[in-house]
Symmetry: C2
Subunit: 322 residues, 2 copies
């Protein structure tokens, strides 16, 4: 079975880990490809940070800080404190020592002329994530935010991390997307997939960003496989709080059905063959079905590895329905 | 009093610290400029390392690892171990976490378009070394080594650190020196100095490299100040062992008088107005005087801050002689 996920950071990584656990537990042979959002990528202290690629690597490779969901376990700030002492530290961003090594290694590989795909493959040779991890594009596509009442653009990471998304965003701008193309292997993986999963990642600035790379949305629409989405909204609130602010910006309500309608039913030119909502949102199932989106209500909270694996199993089961 | 030192790493830094101690203790008002060798500079993991500038900053700024003579006190290798895990670590080079922050900050400043001089000034704003610390040049001039019986060039740092200078060097090559010019302020500082000191740094790959930058040797020859050198050789052995290998390469004997003759008496087109040798080399004094190099034998070992300050006082006293 060939499975492709379009994923952002924490939610996508935890879902993917659950999927791998389920595949192993059920003895299902599968090739899993993760197409990761790189819109959060940013230069910091002369180093290239790829937050979502790293969260995926660390989560699947056993290096993640579990409680936090991002960054490395057993982290320290020896280098960052020195950068502060030099007056070049970025106060709003946590740059751990172990994490920094990833940025240094990646930046070195990029400056040596490697593509982001090649650099990612090199880093994954260490983490052995159990998936083929691809950036959505080898070209830099950075998400910027136009704050309400402002002409200035701010890097998404700064809005998200420094401002905690508390200042309303008027618009998200994918800088560089016009010149970007999907990374090698992305389109083929989507087209040839048996199942494409939209995990509970941010539908705007993670999955939305991936879909914005020319060619990717069409590949999902045209894949011969089944496309299953998992709601990132439970009971009218985003699983990872601030995603609501992103939905508001693009005029989508913070609800499991509104996000599904935003993706749209594949039968009517959209993306979804099926959609999973949380049990607490079971009331939404009939309406979504009427809108052309087959839907099931299952436990969506990724509480632990067992619940994550169960949700992944539910998603695959949903993909098999007809 | 305006004092200029042409300095390499450990020996130059310890001598300079002694000089500053002496100036404070004797209530002497002085502007001290250190022109540092940058021939050891090297790109490593995409970061720009400037070993001699750093040794000087750390030594004068109170951050040096005292026993080692280079690198930071209380150092750790959290990042370096990660780079090893990624397979991009440089096995023969110690890249401490605290030290790495310096390289990251410098590289960031350079990539933002700052000159090495400007970047050094920014880093010194933290360390407050008590001297004006100038790189010999803002252009990269890297010392390479042609190994005996080989056509290949190897970066000096690799020969020095990895091979411990055990493989004979046929030649030292200053890559980039043709296009290099002295950093802003270097020539003026030398020309206007009351005293120019050649501290007990490596006469070949530290002071020799500085003198190789077009214009610097002539500025020393032509300064209105007095030029005093301190022998890096005591009793026929280099104070920092491997310097002997460098002297051998350029055909100079490992002795305090041979190095002085190599620099040459200023009265005959060379550099030195005066020279200090160790007490154990007192026998060399008459011969050097006969060669036109006024010389004194004093305790040369930089054992501690007191002996370093005393040696600096001896050097300044020697400069005053006529």
């Amino acid at each position: 079975m060939r499975i492709v996920l379009l994923a952002g950071g924490v939610g996508g990584a935890r879902f993917t880990r659950g999927l791998l656990d389920h595949l192993v537990a059920s003895g299902t042979a599968a090739d899993v490809t993760v197409v990761a959002n790189t819109g959060d990528d940013i230069w910091m202290n002369g180093l290239r940070l790829c937050p979502d690629l790293d969260t995926m690597m660390y989560t699947l490779g056993g290096g993640i800080h579990e409680e936090q969901g991002w960054g490395r376990a057993d982290e320290s700030r020896r280098v960052a404190d020195e950068l502060d002492a030099y007056g070049v530290g970025v106060a709003w961003f946590t740059l751990g020592d172990l994490d920094l090594a990833t940025h240094i290694a990646r930046t070195q590989l990029l400056r040596e002329g490697n593509s982001l795909s090649a650099a990612t493959a090199r880093l994954c040779a260490r983490w052995k994530p159990g998936v083929r991890l691809l950036p959505m594009s080898d070209e830099p596509v950075e998400t910027h935010v136009r704050l309400a009442g402002s002409d200035q653009l701010m890097h998404f990471e700064e809005w998200w991390v420094r401002l905690r998304a508390t200042v309303p965003a008027q618009e998200f701008v994918q800088s560089g997307v016009e010149d970007a193309s999907p990374a090698p292997g992305v389109l083929d993986a989507i087209r040839d997939a048996d199942v494409v999963v939209l995990p509970p990642s941010n539908p705007v600035v993670s999955i939305g960003t991936i879909l914005g790379v020319p060619g990717i949305r069409d590949a999902v629409r045209e894949t011969s496989g089944r496309v299953v989405g998992v709601s990132p909204i439970i009971g009218g609130a985003a699983v990872r709080g601030m995603a609501a602010a992103c939905l508001t910006t693009i005029g989508v309500a913070t609800s499991a059905d509104a996000v599904a309608v935003h993706y749209g039913p594949r039968s009517r030119g959209g993306l979804l063959d099926a959609w999973l909502v949380d049990e607490t949102d079971a009331v939404l199932v009939p309406g979504l079905a009427a809108d052309g989106i087959p839907c099931r209500a299952v436990p969506l909270w990724l509480r632990d590895t067992a619940s994550s694996a169960r949700l992944a199993a539910d998603a695959l089961a949903m993909a098999e329905r007809d």
